[in-house]
């Protein structure tokens, strides 16, 4: 079950290791942004402006449900590609080690 190696090395990311570093940064950003946005309570602990009858305090947090889901999904796409790279790398190592 040998895999196609070429497929995974994308032109914008260079080598798999570079891709891996970029992915790590991206994942870190995805985690940190919602954490800061939601745990820094003074930022949104206010009533105005209201939206559809919801005080700011409430709709702001609802908004972050969507933003966080989107961010996490983007991170998922990146990480999945990175995983494929890693696996192919190992596959190459193994195939090189003991050829059948």
């Amino acid at each position: 079950m040998r895999r196609m190696v070429r497929r995974s090395v994308s032109p914008d990311m260079g080598s798999p290791e570079l891709g891996s570093a970029a992915t790590n940064v991206l994942v870190a950003v995805v985690v940190i942004i919602p954490l800061v946005a939601l745990l820094w309570v003074p930022f949104y602990a206010k009533k105005a402006p209201e939206l559809f009858g919801f005080p700011f305090f409430y709709w702001y947090q609802f908004l972050w449900v969507f933003i966080t889901a989107a961010l996490t999904f983007v991170a998922y796409l990146f990480v999945r590609r990175n995983d494929i790279d890693r696996r192919d790398e190992r596959q190459v190592d193994r195939d090189g080690g003991h050829r059948r």
Partner: protein, 545 residues
């Protein structure tokens, strides 16, 4: 207006009938689930407890959602909103930030667990640190912390039964009847089909819940004159509640630290629970975990809208009075439903809440039982137990865990049920350094981790005990306590975790200086990246002792 009436006298026949019919339906499904996807042999622990580890994105989504959509969501959080206002909304940031956090570390746990056949977090700790003591600590904490979480579910079912008119205030036994019925239901139905039953039932449950939620968040605000009016009513009523600590619509300066720490502490704690980890390990490949992290926030949205039912109960002037004649905020949402819905739909809503409490309670007790069997029973009582024996022990243990939960309900303050879950969080979070940090580095010394855990557990328990509810005068009355160094109140779980970390770091430095034996690491770096289809990843590997 008829909106302000209290509990109806006697039993609501129509509602009760609907609830019973739905319950019977679900129970039949549960038993039929034992044959779902035709497991080769349900008598092994992997099959009974992990559903054979073959769940894909969709089933996992429902299963993990089952952990969130519980009595916590439907009863405890709205009750806190009803009684104290904005602080109860911390559940929303909690359930949002949990997924990015999960996204980062759970795939690693999935990989290493599948390569080594780990079924519980304690298995992992044992293999990683080569420490029976640490593994035992993690197992005991998991079982202990799960009990109050299950207790919360029992309180939820009880609330529904109580509002429906089951039981009476005429004597002790009858006033606890709703609780006893709740317990019997739960115990009876987990016993036979293990994790498959809750997975199957989760579909029905979520379907029911979606209907109820959608109706509730459209129909009720419509009846009450829109969200604007609901928030206005809450703003007016919250500060005037006849309690020692009145609430507010927007979090005040004093509430910010508790709000943020409750959200963060709960988020870090959620995936330390054995039942969450069980659900994650039952997935087919490591990316199912990640895809779910992106899909699950849909649940958070509804959770937030359900939380607002607490305000709707205020706006509808609901007066939740328990069988003992005292006000009980836990009854706010069931009472709101009963006041505003026609009887038959009240029945549907109550069934949704009750089944919604039953499913996670079942998952939790199974996970805690697995933990006991693998990491305590097999380790300390019967080394050579065969798989059938293990499954038998787990079944009995799942009953004992539920009994433990019942004790929590009897001895702690039932009027703020969310405190049950938050108490569990204080304990379970103390396993964070060993599990999560352990997924990345083995720098922490195993004995240091054990010491840090002991300090965190003792500190957390003592401080939580010292918090007395000003209104009911009961201990374990608040999940937050004053942190002297910053002069703010914070979630005890986080304070204890910080203390835990400090102890671990200092002790590690000392132990490393004196070259204390670090034990053998049974895992390799490569294990943390393994995926389905890789060498040595098998669906049901048994641990080699």
């Amino acid at each position: 207006m008829s909106l302000s009436i209290g509990p109806r006298a006697g039993v609501d026949g129509t509602a009760l009938t609907v609830v019973i019919v739905l319950f019977v339906f679900v129970t039949v499904l549960g038993f039929a689930a034992a044959r779902w996807r035709r497991a080769a042999n349900l008598a092994t622990l992997d099959e009974w407890g992990l559903g054979g580890r073959s769940f894909g994105t969709f089933v996992t989504w429902f299963l993990l959602g089952g952990d969130l959509y519980t009595a916590y969501t439907f009863v405890a959080v709205p009750a806190l909103m009803f009684a104290s206002g904005a602080i109860g909304f911390f559940a929303v940031p909690y359930t949002i930030i949990v997924y990015p956090i999960v996204f980062v570390f759970l795939p690693r746990l999935w990989s290493v667990s599948h390569r080594h056949g780990y079924v519980t977090p304690a298995d992992f700790v044992r293999g990683r640190y080569d420490s029976r003591g640490l593994s035992l600590a993690v197992a005991v904490t998991g079982i202990l912390a799960t009990m109050p979480y299950i207790a919360l579910q029992l309180v939820g079912i009880q609330a529904v039964l109580e509002v429906m008119g089951v039981g009476s205030s005429s004597n002790e036994f009858l006033s606890d009847l709703p609780l006893i019925v709740a317990f019997a239901l739960l115990a009876a139905y987990t016993y036979t089909s293990g994790l498959r039953a809750p997975a199957m039932i989760a579909f029905v449950k979520d379907f029911l819940i979606y209907i109820v939620v959608i109706v509730a968040i459209i129909y009720i605000p419509y009846k009450l004159g829109g969200y604007h009016k609901i928030f206005a009513a809450a703003e007016g009523a919250l500060p005037k509640k006849p309690v020692k600590v009145p609430g507010s619509l927007i979090i005040g300066a004093k509430g910010m630290w508790p709000y943020a720490t409750l959200a963060l502490g709960s988020a870090l704690a959620l995936f330390m629970y054995p039942h969450s980890i069980t659900a994650v390990l039952a997935t087919k490949d490591r990316n199912v975990v990640r895809r779910n992290a992106a899909l699950l926030p849909a649940y958070s949205l509804l959770l937030g809208l359900i939380a607002l039912l607490g305000y709707m109960a205020i706006a509808a002037k609901v007066k939740p009075i328990g069988l003992n004649g005292k006000p009980n905020a836990q009854l706010a949402v069931p009472q709101l439903f009963e006041n505003l819905f026609p009887s038959w739909f009240t029945g549907v809503a109550f069934a949704a809440i009750a089944i919604g409490a039953l499913v996670p309670a079942a998952i939790m007790s199974i996970a805690a039982a697995n933990l006991f069997t693998r990491n305590i029973y097999r380790e300390y009582f019967e080394r050579g137990a065969d798989p059938a024996r293990e499954a038998a022990v787990s079944k009995v243990m799942s009953l004992i865990v539920k009994l433990g939960a019942l004790l929590f309900v009897f001895f702690l303050d039932r009027t703020t049920a969310i405190n049950f879950q938050l108490l569990g969080g204080i304990w379970i979070l103390q396993t964070f350094p060993a599990i999560v940090i352990g997924l990345y580095t083995r720098w922490f010394h195993r004995w240091a981790l054990l010491l840090g855990w002991a300090v965190g557990m003792s500190y957390g328990t003592v401080v939580a005990y010292q918090q007395v509810n000003l209104d009911t005068k009961k201990h374990f009355g608040s999940p937050t306590a004053l942190i002297d160094s910053i002069g703010q109140k914070g979630y005890i779980a986080l304070t204890a975790l910080v203390l835990n970390f400090v102890v671990v770091i200092v002790a590690t430095l000392i132990l490393r200086a004196v070259k204390a034996p670090a034990g053998r690491d049974h895992t390799t770096d490569d294990d943390y990246w393994a995926d389905e289809g890789d060498p040595r990843i098998e669906p049901i590997p048994e641990l080699v002792n």
